[in-house]
Symmetry: C2
Subunit: 133 residues, 2 copies
Amino acid sequence: MASTAPSPARPAAKVPAEPCPISPVVDLVFSRWTTPILWLLHEHGRQRFVELQRRIGTITPKVLTQRLRQMERDGLVVRTYHPEVPPRVEYEISPLGLSLAPLFRTLAEWSQTHLPEVAAARTDYDDRGQPMP
Amino acid sequence: MASTAPSPARPAAKVPAEPCPISPVVDLVFSRWTTPILWLLHEHGRQRFVELQRRIGTITPKVLTQRLRQMERDGLVVRTYHPEVPPRVEYEISPLGLSLAPLFRTLAEWSQTHLPEVAAARTDYDDRGQPMP
DNA sequence: CCGTATCCTTGCTGATACTG
DNA sequence: CAGTATCAGCAAGGATACGG
């Protein structure tokens, strides 16, 4: 990885060999804002830049552009430019992006099943005080 | 999330409602260093602080401590302190952390299947030049 | 409407040193 | 050994403002 092209995904912090075989996918799919964007595109279908911005609610146009560009380059979304006045640009999920659906479903299922355990573990940990010197 | 306790996982950037139902899990499982740590604990079993540090290779003790503390609080790993001289501390995956295994497997499968498409999409995008004004 | 340009702040990182 | 403390450096993210 880290070819000659402008690939600002994340420098991976120069991991030596491959301590974790899923790191590439994690950087690809779970970078900041990618899951909300993919989710919204999946829920509401093809939509415009401002719709995405408004639905996410807390993202700035700069960052949204960055993320969408990267996701377009990675083949997860498709950008369509309509040369009109005013200009119109629409984004939609690509087939490749759609292939992540089962993964997201697994994630949602785990969430449903085990997130309460996480909450319990947290209160448990907090009640127990310092973890030992 | 973001309760009263010291849980600086990520402030989630104050997302309004719930633009993406899997965001909590993403913050939990795919924060920086968590997947390498979980992977190493899964591969090599229970091990000590320095072993983890050496195997990851590029992490400082400070950050490793931060990450391990948070994962312990979230119930993903278990920390065992042996009061000896020299002191010995061992970390291992908890059952909750182990319940992530199928998720990781799904991730690895997707990686195997679709990562080449990502690479292709990237070269394609880079060859095609500017994305249109 | 769809972005880009500019600044600013945050948080990770890195190096070093120091306890128990 | 297993951390904690401190400080400097950098890059990503956020806020604001402006242009095509």
